[in-house]
């Protein structure tokens, strides 16, 4: 069954289908929605599990470890939550307990940052946990089901972290194939409590103190079990593919089998890397390329990766790490790849360069990977390169910049010789085409721009299209401008999650955003694109003037969204009106095709919302809207704006309007 899910919801489905019996959790952005979903299912009886609302992640980890002695257990966390678990997490591996923690990967402070990178997963890499990285919501669901099978294997019995990048992974809505419970039951056997905690016939002691003699022998066993996870992960991924049609390994090689230049990375950024790869492959003057998507980070598949690179005859590997080295020679992934290659290939090893990027939610775009392939090609040609990590989007290295004048001149003294040897090869920087249909909806938080985008995505997926929505989330409060990006794949080929950055349709939910100095909503509209504005006071011509839009191929449409919503007694909820208007201007998804999905899924009041969609569709126009009914006046706002400190008579009026607004 294909359904619209966010990364968090997909992870929750993973727990549900794995029949997790105990789920203690403490909420933390960006993985909270996963736990809320599990809790909701348990609360309404759809999932047979115990949810424990604990008072901290430390307790959540303690409870998971205790529960895993008898039942299948899991939880979700992120960032500092995971770090707060570390003190007890080692007890999971040490006590040989299989359980799974879903991690919405997020940066770790200070400074505080809620957005995604791999810092949290890197910080616990030495805590004895198996770590699997997912690149999208589908993999998050599949990985959690496989995680239980891997961790409960009798030769492993170790806990698993199932990672998915925060926000760009956890909050992106996309189509996910959800297996049936029966299919998963046939794949995943019931939990086997090897050493149950409360068995009267066989009482056991966990966590006894051991002397050095026994301690080292036990740790040898634990390490052997963790190493066994390498083969088991391959076996389980293969079996999963036979049953569900999606095969997984310890890593995935995408691109030329004889790639001279390889970019290696973990997780969700692989989407942008693959987009760049598809764009560059086969062009004149470009060497053979590949992307190495590392899925199993811990235990690290050192020999398998070294063998794959050796067989391909790779000359340069550029490793992207979304985390820091913290004083190490390289950040964790680059360090592991470099040591694996040195160990297994010796003098035959390819050259390894490390790049740090994507920190704290920094965007990783396909054009970044164009630059990295350029860097890799230079290194493969034998040119000197930096032996310490490069940094993306820091004005430090000319090779990573289009304008080398931005580099601090003082740095030329330090790195000048290397930089002179490196060259920007223009064939790697051919502008990235934006062939897919992209939508950006600007709203103010509370206006439902994200809701419209998610419904549009759901309808598209049900109609068989490849659609996904990536909302922005930040520290904005209610009323601030937010936006949601929707990608409708029209280019065919491999499924992509990568946005081109140029929009075919920009929807503006509030005409005050037109004049917002911080937002230039029409800046990135493609030629021939459409601007759709909720307004009944500006004509399309006036909007064109306001935005200083010289490109006449860009069409402007207006819809009286607020007026329609008011007439339908929907208050300020204009999302359904704008949804209908989107269908009017989007050539790829007809309203008739999408209506069955909306009829099933729109929230209450259903009829009014469906009518809002219809009216939004019908009343979208490229002419000035004739104001058949007067503009709705907000008495409270009008009174407020009229008020002056010296005018005491208006105070009563304001208070009276507030009472009216509150219904008292």
């Amino acid at each position: 069954m294909r359904q619209l899910l966010s990364g968090n919801a997909a992870a929750a489905w993973g727990f549900r289908l794995s029949r997790v019996q105990c789920y203690p959790y403490y909420p933390i952005t960006p993985s909270t929605a996963c736990s809320e979903q599990v809790s909701h299912w348990v609360g309404n009886g759809e999932m047979d599990a115990v949810v424990i609302n604990v008072e901290s992640e430390h307790t959540a980890a303690s409870a998971v470890i205790s529960a895993a002695k008898d039942v299948r257990a899991g939880t979700a966390t992120s960032s500092k939550g995971l770090l707060y678990m570390v003190e007890v997490l080692e007890n999971g591996g040490g006590a040989s307990l299989p359980f799974t923690i879903f991690v919405g990967n997020r940066a770790t402070g200070a400074p505080i940052n809620i957005w995604g990178d791999n810092s949290d997963a890197y910080a616990v890499r030495d805590s004895g946990l198996i770590q699997i990285f997912a690149t999208n919501a589908q993999e998050a669901l599949d990985n959690i089901i496989q995680a239980y099978k891997i961790s409960e294997d009798l030769s492993v019995r170790q806990p698993v972290l199932a990672n998915l990048k925060g926000f760009t992974g956890t909050h992106t809505y996309e189509g996910v194939e959800t297996p049936t419970p029966e299919e998963v039951d046939a794949f995943l056997p019931p939990y086997i409590p090897l050493e149950p905690l409360f068995s009267q016939d066989h009482p056991v002691t966990y966590g006894a103190m051991l002397s050095g003699f026994y301690y080292r022998r036990h740790k040898r066993n634990q390490t052997a079990a963790l190493t066994n996870a390498l083969a088991v992960t391959e076996k389980v991924g293969q079996e999963f593919g036979e049953r569900f049609g999606r095969t997984y390994g310890t890593f995935e090689w995408v691109g030329d089998s004889n790639a001279e230049v390889v970019i290696a990375l973990l997780g969700e950024s692989a989407g942008a890397a693959e987009a760049a790869l598809d764009h560059l492959r086969g062009r004149d003057g470009i060497s053979s390329l590949a992307v190495l998507k590392v899925r199993l980070f811990n235990p690290f598949p050192a020999k398998a990766i070294a063998t794959a690179l050796y067989k391909a005859g790779t000359k340069a590997v550029v490793v992207l790490d979304e985390g820091l080295p913290h004083g190490d020679v390289f950040p964790p992934l680059a360090g592991r790849i470099a040591s694996s290659l040195q160990l297994h290939l010796g003098s035959h090893m390819p050259r390894v360069a490390s790049v740090i990027g994507g920190l704290g939610g920094s965007e990783i775009r396909p054009d970044h990977f164009q630059t990295l392939f350029n860097l890799g090609a230079n290194i493969a040609a034998g040119r000197p390169y930096r032996r310490e990590p490069y940094w993306l989007d820091i004005e430090e290295d000319p090779i990573l910049l289009t304008d080398e004048k931005k580099v601090d001149p003082k740095l030329w003294k330090q790195y000048g010789e290397i930089w002179k040897a490196q060259s920007i090869q223009h064939q790697y920087h051919v502008p990235f085409p934006s062939t897919n249909y992209e939508v950006r909806l600007y709203g103010r938080a509370g206006q439902g721009a994200i809701t419209s985008a998610v419904f549009f995505t759901g309808a598209g997926i049900e109609h068989g299209l490849q659609v996904l929505t990536k909302p922005t989330f930040g520290s904005e409060r209610r009323g601030a401008v937010v936006h949601a990006d929707t990608l409708l794949q029209t280019s065919g080929g491999r499924k992509t999650r990568s946005f081109g950055g140029k929009q075919d349709l920009v929807g503006i939910y509030d005409d005050t955003i037109l004049t917002s100095p911080a937002h230039a909503p029409a800046r990135d509209v493609k030629p021939g694109g459409v601007l759709l504005v909720n307004t009944n006071r500006y004509s399309p011509e006036r909007i064109r003037e306001m935005l200083n839009l010289s490109d006449s191929s860009i069409s402007i449409y207006v819809v009286p969204g607020s007026q329609i919503a008011h007439e339908l007694r929907l208050g300020g909820f204009i999302n359904m009106v704008m949804l209908g208007a989107m269908h009017r201007v989007c050539p790829h998804l007809d309203l008739d095709a999408a209506l069955p999905y909306y009829q099933k899924n729109v929230p209450q009041p259903k009829e009014a919302n469906l009518e809002a969609i219809r009216r939004g569709y019908q009343e979208t126009t490229d002419h000035l809207i004739e104001q058949a009914v007067p503009v709705v006046v907000d008495e409270r706002a009008e009174a407020y704006f009229r008020w002056r400190p010296e005018d005491e008579t208006l105070e009563d009026e304001i208070l009276r309007s507030l009472e009216v607004a509150r219904g008292s």
Binding site: N44, G45, V51, A95, L154, V204, R217, A224
Partner: protein
């Protein structure tokens, strides 16, 4: 958890102790459901959600109880009926001593023999009958330790700790009050003191292999160990007593 246990849990319902005058909380297995108390006006309503709203409370207010989710919709969870019991893990030698119906002994023992001493068979039972047998290689490199450093309490052999103590402790049966007292027996942290004999002839005895020489019996003795607990053959040692009691 076996099927039988599962079924027993499903059938086993009880009320949670609560001071709530309007609703009661029913524990069924691992789930807690809420229902109006008999006699309360809301009990006649067909929908518990309606009853909450009509009572003027916030909707969903009582959906959680001490962290346990509360079922209101009554939708049945996805129960599985094919739960297997926790498996038995046996070596070749252990399997040879057992007679298990339905097991392909030739096949399993051949596989175990191929693996050598590392071979183990995992026997899954459902309702007492063999459901599945899997042969695997014991992943432990150091076989003297259980997985997860778990200690099997009933299989532990008492360890001789006589080398731990500095002084020798001995209870003189003539001075000991026996079953009238047994104070030392109860306070011994090592369970090293045992009652011997019956009635007036009973006395306490220290197991010399289990005694670590902690002095607790000597301190706690109701007779202050006088004529009773000898340390290094002495019933009274002023230096020891001053050390412990500050005399």
């Amino acid at each position: 958890m076996s099927d039988a246990e599962n079924g027993k849990q499903a059938a086993d319902t009880r009320l949670l102790p609560s001071c709530n005058q309007h609703e009661e909380f029913v524990v069924t297995g691992r789930m807690v459901t809420v229902r109006p108390k008999n006699g309360h006006p809301s009990a006649v309503s067909t929908s518990s959600e309606e009853s909450v709203s009509s009572a003027g409370k916030l909707p969903g207010r009582n959906k959680k109880l001490m962290g346990f989710p509360v079922t209101r919709t009554g939708r049945a969870p996805e129960k599985r009926t094919d739960l297997l019991a926790a498996p038995e893990v046996l070596t070749l030698e252990e399997l040879a001593k057992r007679a298990i119906d339905g097991l392909d002994y030739n096949g399993v023992m051949d596989q175990l023999a191929d693996l050598g001493p590392e071979g183990r068979v995992l026997l899954f039972f459902r309702e007492g009958k063999l459901a599945r047998a899997e042969v695997f290689e014991d992943p432990r490199i150091c076989k003297d330790l259980q997985r997860g450093a778990v200690i099997h309490n009933l299989e532990q052999i008492p360890v001789d700790v006589s080398g731990w103590r500095v002084h020798e402790f001995y209870i003189d049966s003539k001075g000991c009050l026996g079953e009238v007292c047994t104070r030392c027996l109860r306070v011994c942290p090592e369970d090293a003191i045992h009652l011997k004999g019956d009635g007036a002839s009973s006395y306490c005895e220290i197991d010399p292999t289990a005694c670590k020489g902690c002095f607790i019996c000597w301190v706690e003795c109701s007779r202050k160990a006088a004529d009773c607990i000898q340390v290094d053959g002495k019933t009274f040692d002023s230096e020891l007593r001053s050390h412990h009691f500050g005399e």
